[in-house]
């Protein structure tokens, strides 16, 4: 069944539209009944909206919308947007994360004010991310990136009485503003060189060559910087530890999973479409070899993230750093692209996408577990986690799944995606990159297992008491856990889709 045979093309952006409308709907509900504490309705609406969008994306994906099977990518609005396999694939990530976050927030936000705004912001951010996935022009890239960022700033600083939240918001915002400025400047430079903002046209004009190689290089570097900010990669990562630590845990989950993925999808598209490696590495006597750049960033990012995470005392902050480390893994997808890579390019990029997909589940789940612990009023340090398993075995088991999956152990999705990534990296000849990744993931095993150790092995402190059993959070966490587990036996559709849609970019 192939959807949209007889429907107008703009329908292809349905996921984004649905998300946006749901956001508006939430605002509407909120205005109708401003000070309602009945967040069941809000959370439900948000979740439904997200799921609906995700459902549509999945339906399109299965139907082959925007893929070779149905006549290739659908580009709209003068090539400003494009709907293809990759955008739909990532839409799936954003929406599923958004859904999980919304469900979990039902409990997290209980007895908080401005809940309508919260959900609306989440959905608007999701919309922005979805659009990032579709952006085919630096203009839309910039706009959608801002559309994803601005709500995020507000979300991070959502707890207005909580100094941590405020500080997190501030740092996130300031670094974000700086990065977007750098990003914008980079765009302007590229425009200066190529005279166009639409990605394919940029590639076309570059193919004709230019004498402003230096300017181009600077522009490319700055654009990469903008993405590095979104993906929390070195050297634009500084906001991440604080933002993730200070923000409300569900927001941390949302940012560290979805927002990161959004950064990657747009990076993937921009660099593969606008700056084809073959073109830019042999241009006007220069070589803007961005795979080298990303190889550098990948190594530094994963190393810094993992090493910093290894010595944390605060679980949430540890996860924040680990999220930086995983950004490093995902960067391998871009780093391992080679001029004459052929199929290998698609493989490694797809593997990176698959990793982000799995990461969406396991990382969101992990942060939501922290949200639950915060809900229980336990501390954030490893000691505070001692013996949780004896009180809440199911949640602890789920958290164990997330931790080991993040560490890349079977039988969990993280194992598959990570090794698929290393596998394809080696395929592209970047065995040393895989080796660095190996060292890092071994180290990560150390600090992830500290959480497990605290929960299962350590003796619970005498006064360990957990309060309610938040239903919504349990649902979200268990869903994430089941997803994480099933993604190993069910890795086939993920990896194959990912590598197919990735191959379509080259």
């Amino acid at each position: 069944m192939t959807p949209l045979q007889s429907t107008p093309e703009w329908v292809a952006t349905a996921p984004a539209i649905v998300l946006a409308l749901t956001g508006l709907a939430l605002l509407l509900i909120d205005t109708i009944d401003p000070d309602s504490t009945n967040n069941g309705l809000l959370a439900g609406t948000a979740t439904l909206g997200a799921l609906a969008a995700g459902g549509i994306a999945g339906w399109f994906l299965i139907g082959g919308t925007g893929m070779e099977s149905t006549g290739g990518a659908i580009s709209l609005y003068g090539d400003a947007l494009v709907v293809d396999g990759m955008s739909l694939f990532f839409t799936l990530i954003f929406t599923s994360v958004a859904a999980m976050v919304s469900v979990a927030s039902y409990d997290y936000l209980a007895d908080q004010r401005y809940q309508g705004e919260f959900y609306a912001l989440v959905l608007f951010a999701a919309t922005g991310m979805t659009l990032m996935g579709m952006s085919n022009s630096l203009a839309t890239v910039f706009v959608s990136l801002e559309l994803a960022s601005l709500p995020s700033y507000a979300l991070v600083a959502f707890l207005k009485e909580d100094r941590g939240s405020i500080e997190a918001g501030l740092k996130y915002f300031l670094i974000g503003a700086l990065s977007s400025a750098v990003f914008a400047f980079g765009i302007s430079l590229v425009f200066a060189v190529t005279g166009s903002l639409v990605l394919p046209e940029i590639a076309a004009s570059l193919a004709e060559g230019t004498e402003l190689v230096g300017v181009l290089g600077l522009g490319v570097l700055m654009i990469a910087g903008g993405f590095a900010f979104k993906t929390a990669s070195v050297p634009f990562h500084f906001w991440a530890p604080e933002a993730y630590e200070g923000a409300p845990a569900p927001v941390s989950a949302f940012l560290s999973s979805a927002s990161k993925a959004a950064g990657f999808v747009v990076a993937f598209r921009v660099f593969t479409v606008a700056f084809p490696l073959g073109t830019v590495t042999s241009i006007g006597g220069g070589s803007v070899d961005w795979s080298l750049l990303f190889a550098l960033l990948a190594v530094v990012t994963m190393t810094l993230g993992n090493f910093a995470a290894a010595t944390q005392q605060n679980v949430k902050r540890m996860l924040a750093y680990s999220s930086i480390g995983h950004a490093g893994y995902a960067l391998i997808g871009l780093a391992a692209i080679t001029v004459d890579g052929g199929a290998a390019n698609g493989d490694v990029l797809g593997a990176s996408m698959a990793h982000l997909f799995v990461y969406g589940f396991m990382n969101t789940g992990a942060f939501l577990f922290i949200a639950m612990v915060e809900k229980w009023g336990l501390g954030r340090t490893f000691e505070d986690y001692n013996g949780i398993a004896s009180k809440a075995p199911i949640a602890a088991a789920a958290m164990t799944v997330f931790m080991f999956s993040l560490a890349g152990l079977p039988p969990f999705g993280g194992f598959f995606s990570k090794y698929a990534l290393f596998f394809s990296a080696i395929e592209s000849g970047f065995w040393w990159l895989a080796a660095v990744g190996a060292v890092n993931s071994a180290l990560s095993l150390f600090y992830y297992s500290r959480v497990v150790k605290a929960m299962w092995i350590e003796e619970p402190s005498a006064n360990l008491e957990i309060g309610s059993q938040p239903v919504g959070m349990y649902v979200a966490i268990v869903f994430a856990a089941v997803g994480t587990v099933l993604l190993l036996p069910g890795s086939q559709p993920v990896i194959e889709t990912a590598q197919t849609v990735a191959a379509a970019l080259f």
Binding site: A343, A344, D347, A351, F404, L409, P410, P411, F415, Y419, A420, F422, F423, S424, I426, E427, G429, W431, A434, A435, A438, V439, S441, A442, L443, L445, F446, S449, K453, W456, I457, L488, S491, Q492, I495, E496, Q499
Partner: protein, 509 residues
């Protein structure tokens, strides 16, 4: 399908045990674990394979379906057994059941989790020994770590957390090194293979399909991959000097876990060495004969001498495992029927005997609550049966004829001595064989000081004979050891059948 059934049943047994109340968990786990035992014995009785699974022999109970596609390669769900894996499968199921019984006494808290994890580990181990696709195999290989981590970390001794994490991270790094080495080998084969099935890869390598990759010529690539894989597996074996996780893990782990660790987990390493390094890259292996033989001898003598210095009974047995596994390496590098066959036989034999020794130590520990040689003496006076079996097991460990250990060691020595990989192999063999003197030394000393002499015990427990369900597994193991020692052909025939193709391998490139 029987292999899938075997693994699935074991896995279900684990899940069932998890949800059972602690009270019944032990007994239930035992009852449930009988299913895989029966299954494996049935397999053994129905066993009809011939030749080596990787080298085009016909594989027993084979299933082979495409699971998914990773890059240009298919990943198959491919399982099956040949003469090398069949004995190890039987060993795994039997040893797990006995270990479960031996855990009834020492494990007094969170039983359902403990026994569940034991069964979970069994399921994964069965997967390791039956999987014939690299990725499937690798999943099980890594999955074994999880239950082990908890089993050591939760139920272990005072330094259990340190030991658990050390085991966990150390072996994990090893797996990653091995992974990189093997995968570069795969890509060295390029388009000459379409899947990650081990037989396909092995045969492609034999056919000389290995090309250059990542700037390495075929030969160099083979060497690099060989070294990487060897390091990766040597940690599991363990080969000195990569062994230091083992004593800690053994000492801290509860007895039944030590039994599994020494009895089966170490065999994963040697099994993998045989399957990967020595089957896939025979030429390279021969080229590296000297360093490998040196490592083997070093492990044997070094491990034995270390065991001599220990005061903790468990530590003694732990280091002696390093020593015994050194023999396996020696046998593997020999590339003779008796060498490689004996090495494989030693995997089983050492599995039984080290299991027996650890259990015996555990039974004594259950009553004395100490393992220090100095803390007791004349235990045989109060625990005659246990002591008797302990002595028997110890002599088995020393390689007493008509017990499995002797058969294995003699095969290895014979095979290694007449090996043609090196002019000096007889010297290495002779050097390694001195292990049989040292092993006698430390075991006899330990027994003289703990079991014999006037009864003395610095502790306020009253020492009485162990309950039946503690002694029964010991007796069973002892019986099996003797049966295998009197008639090694039970396994040796099928083992030889599977290893001879390895010896006939010609030039790979």
């Amino acid at each position: 399908m029987i292999i899938e059934a075997l693994i699935a049943v074991t896995f279900l047994a684990a899940l069932v045990t998890f949800v059972l109340p602690d009270r019944y968990a032990g007994k239930a786990a035992f009852a449930l674990s009988l299913a895989p035992v029966v299954g494996s014995l049935y397999m053994w009785q129905q066993y009809d394979a011939s030749g080596n699974a990787l080298l085009g022999g016909n594989i027993a109970f084979e299933t082979d379906v495409v699971w998914l596609q990773l890059g240009q390669y298919d990943i198959h769900w491919m399982v099956g057994v040949d003469g090398i894996s069949m004995p190890l499968v039987v060993l795994t199921t039997i040893l797990t059941t006995l270990a479960i019984v031996s855990a009834w006494t020492p494990i007094s808290e969170r039983q359902s989790q403990f026994f569940g994890l034991m069964l979970l580990m069994e399921a994964n181990l069965l997967g390791v020994f039956t999987a014939l696709d690299f990725f499937v195999w690798f999943i099980f290989w890594e999955a074994v770590l999880l239950p082990m981590y908890f089993l050591i970390g939760v139920w272990g001794g005072p330094r259990r957390k340190y030991a658990a994490i050390k085991f966990f991270v150390y072996t994990n790094i090893a797996s990653l090194v091995m992974f990189i080495g093997f995968v570069s080998l795969v890509f060295g084969l390029g388009d000459s293979i379409t899947s990650l099935r081990l037989p396909e890869i092995a045969q492609a390598l034999q056919a000389g399909q290995l090309g250059s990759f990542a700037g390495l010529s075929a030969g160099a690539l083979a060497s690099v991959a060989f070294i990487a894989m060897f390091i990766g597996f040597a940690v599991k074996v363990p080969v000195a000097p990569l062994h230091t996780w083992l004593p800690d893990a053994h000492v801290e782990a509860p007895t039944p876990v030590s039994v599994m660790l020494a009895g089966v987990l170490l065999k994963m390493g040697t099994y993998a060495l045989l399957r990967f390094n020595f089957t896939m890259l025979p030429e390279t292996a021969r080229a590296f004969a000297l360093p490998i033989a040196l490592l083997a001898v070093a492990s044997v003598i070094y491990g034995a001498l270390l065991a001599l210095a220990q005061q903790d009974l468990k530590r003694i047995v732990a280091y002696s495992s390093v020593s015994s596994m050194g023999y396996v390496i020696l046998g593997l590098i020999a590339y003779t029927t008796y060498g490689v066959g004996g090495a494989t036989f030693q995997m089983v034999a050492h599995g039984l005997i080290s299991g027996l020794m650890f259990m015996a130590v555990g039974v004594i520990y259950n009553t004395t609550h100490t393992r220090m040689v100095g803390d007791m003496s004349g235990i045989a006076d109060r625990m005659p049966v246990t002591a008797g079996i302990f002595v028997a097991g110890a002599f088995g460990y020393m390689g007493l004829p008509l017990m499995a250990g002797f058969a294995a060691e003699f095969f290895i020595f014979k095979g290694a001595f007449e090996s043609t990989v090196m002019e000096a192999m007889p010297l290495f063999t002779g050097a390694a064989m001195f292990g049989i003197v040292i092993v006698a030394g430390y075991l006899l000393f330990a027994m003289q000081r703990t079991l014999f002499g006037p009864f003395r015990f610095d502790g306020d427990y009253d020492i009485t004979e162990a309950p039946f369900h503690d002694v029964a597994p010991l007796a069973v193991l002892l019986l099996l050891t003797i049966v295998l020692g009197v008639s090694p052909d039970i396994f040796f025939t099928m083992i030889q059948d599977a290893v001879t193709p390895i010896l006939e391998l010609g030039g790979a490139f």
